[in-house]
């Protein structure tokens, strides 16, 4: 594989190289053409347009006009938007903090040599293939102050009434638990794939060196699942940061704006109020946040080595 690549780059300096490339690699290029066209037209081009629209005001039915950074200035002077960003960060920290440890534990359990444990790999994945609006209905049913089992159990235990989606703190907790419930299965799947690829001999020799359970985990298991952990954390971070459907189904951003994460705000501006300019500006912020986290993880966790 490297040899073809080296050869081909050498040809880039010659005249007529594109014709040569075409003759030689026509088949793979043709096979990829539909996908590439699709993604250029409907993904790359609109992605670039988000930046263009964020600099314009586009009233419905009228021609748009250039307004520079006005949309951004408007947003960042708003207490509500700063609140949206904080709500997103809080949501992200909560979901990761809750789902990653549970996912790791679940991964260890389903990859253990206990008979029958493997079957739960499939069953535990169910929350992940359920639609966000469906799981939101399930969670709303559970926390209803009069009929929900979770609210009722808490009431019996403490003697107080719990209005989950009315009380701001409880609403935040509800969206976090809901999202963690949806996210942990994929993290578990990825981490379990890492666990099963660790050769048993490593544990045996660790035992010979006198390593106990914790030391085996700290020096064998954890380092060897680092890459899978990285992919899992990255994916869930990106999805949590961009989530609109899950939170919107559950609380629509309420009460007030307490659970209005950036995705929900964008959802409302774009699809309910049709503020194209503001929505595009929020989109740019969301893209920036996503890229920021990707770069941060790549740098700090230094993953990808040896891949």
């Amino acid at each position: 594989m490297p040899s073809t690549l080296e050869r081909s780059t050498a040809f880039t300096r010659r005249p007529g190289w594109s014709l040569y490339l075409w003759r030689r690699y026509r088949l793979p290029y043709l096979l990829l053409l539909p996908v590439v066209l699709l993604l250029l037209l409907f993904l790359a081009w609109p992605l670039a347009s988000v930046f263009y629209f964020s600099l314009r005001r586009t009233p419905l039915g009228e021609p748009s006009q250039f307004v520079g950074l006005d949309n951004f200035a408007l947003l960042f002077r708003e207490a509500r938007f700063l609140g949206n960003i904080l709500a997103s960060l809080q949501y992200l920290v909560g979901v990761l903090g809750l789902s990653v440890p549970v996912a790791y534990l679940a991964a260890v359990l389903i990859s253990s040599k206990v008979r029958g444990a493997g079957a739960f790999r499939t069953l535990f994945l169910l929350p992940w293939i359920i639609a966000p609006v469906v799981s939101a209905i399930l969670f709303r049913t559970m926390v209803d102050p009069y009929t929900g089992p979770v609210a009722r159990a808490l009431e019996t235990l403490t003697g107080r009434k719990y209005l989950f989606l009315v009380n701001p703190q409880l609403a935040v907790i509800t969206i976090i638990v809901h999202s963690a419930w949806r996210s942990f299965p994929l993290e578990m799947l990825l981490i379990a794939a890492g666990l099963t690829s660790i050769p048993q001999e490593l544990y045996d020799s660790a035992k010979v060196d006198g390593a106990g359970g914790w030391a085996q985990f700290r020096y064998v298991t954890l380092p060897l699942t680092k890459n899978q952990l990285f992919v899992a954390v990255l994916l869930i971070t990106i999805w949590t940061l961009q989530d609109a459907e899950g939170v919107y189904s559950l609380t629509q951003g309420g009460p007030g704006y307490t659970t209005e994460v950036v995705g929900v705000r964008l959802f409302k501006e774009a699809f309910i109020y049709f503020n194209v300019g503001i929505a595009a500006a929020i989109g740019v912020v969301l893209i920036a946040l996503s890229v920021l986290f990707m770069v941060f993880y790549l740098r700090v966790l230094g993953a990808g080595e040896g891949q």
Partner: protein
């Protein structure tokens, strides 16, 4: 003794996580089978009133139909592209191949942001407020990962089989059609199910591209029920259970290949 203790602890952990995973689902199904207040007549534990009511609503059946059209449409449009692209990535070396990493990176950017200009463009080309626009969005956002999944499945087929066929006079495309696809058929079905489930579950694209109530897909209708029905949990959970069944059944049927494809797709 120690091994038994360990197995006991493992089962305890699995039990606890199992309760967390299944309690919301089980409670939802139970609620959907409970008679609405005041209509408690009849004996037995299972009441199908909620389901009967929902399935007698012509609008509900229309939403199901829309969801089927959108999800199947997305699968049928995306699968051929994913197969051709995935095959090219698995079996050929060519300049620019490294750019295929973009197929994994692009889906990490926020789809919801991309939808904003897409709405404007769909309006311009007259696709706004059609199911075709919803299908298109599902195809666009599912194809990159689907290509990567197909690539993984094709790579798992030994290339020698294909080489033997080309020596016998098969062209590469004939080899793909006659050798790789039959051998990778379970994998390809899993890729189709992956696209189907994602399209079935999504309401973002339908919300963005349609305004007519009769074009709503099932999750969008569920969202509307949530707003309109408030605390009619029997009706809500019955509708939710019906919406949950197709993905759950398809996933359980294809789980082995589905999971394999997921892991191949995330770069394992």
């Amino acid at each position: 003794m120690k091994a038994r203790l360990r197995a006991g602890l493992a089962w305890l952990g699995i039990l606890l996580i199992g309760i967390v995973v299944f309690f919301p689902i089980a409670w939802g199904v139970k609620t959907s089978l409970t008679a609405p207040l005041g209509l408690g007549g009849g004996s037995g534990l299972i009441h199908l009133q909620n389901y009967r009511y929902i399935l007698s609503q012509p609008l509900f059946l229309l939403y199901v139909k829309n969801s089927v059209i959108v999800s199947l449409g997305a699968v049928l449009a995306a699968i051929p592209m994913a197969i051709l692209g995935g095959y090219a990535l698995a079996r050929f070396d060519f300049p620019g191949k490294r750019l295929s990493v973009l197929l994994l990176v692009l889906p990490l950017l926020p789809a919801i942001a991309v939808l904003v200009p897409l709405i404007v463009y769909m309006r311009r080309v007259g696709l706004y407020n059609t199911l075709l626009a919803v299908i298109l969005a599902n195809v666009v956002f599912n194809t990159p990962f689907a290509v990567w999944m197909v690539r993984g499945f094709i790579l798992s087929i030994p290339i020698e089989i294909e080489e033997a066929a080309t020596i016998d006079g098969c062209s590469r495309l004939e080899a793909l059609w006659q050798i790789d696809l039959p051998l990778a058929a379970p994998g390809m079905i899993a890729v189709g199910i992956f696209i189907f489930i994602n399209s079935w579950n999504n309401y973002l694209y339908a919300f963005a591209f349609t305004t007519s109530p009769e074009l709503a897909v099932l999750p969008q209708a569920l969202l509307r029920f949530l707003g309109a029905w408030g605390t009619n949990y029997g009706g809500l959970t019955a509708a939710a259970t019906l919406a949950l069944l197709p993905p759950a059944v398809l996933f359980l049927l294809s789980q082995r290949w589905f999971i394999m494809g997921m892991l191949a797709g995330t770069g394992k």
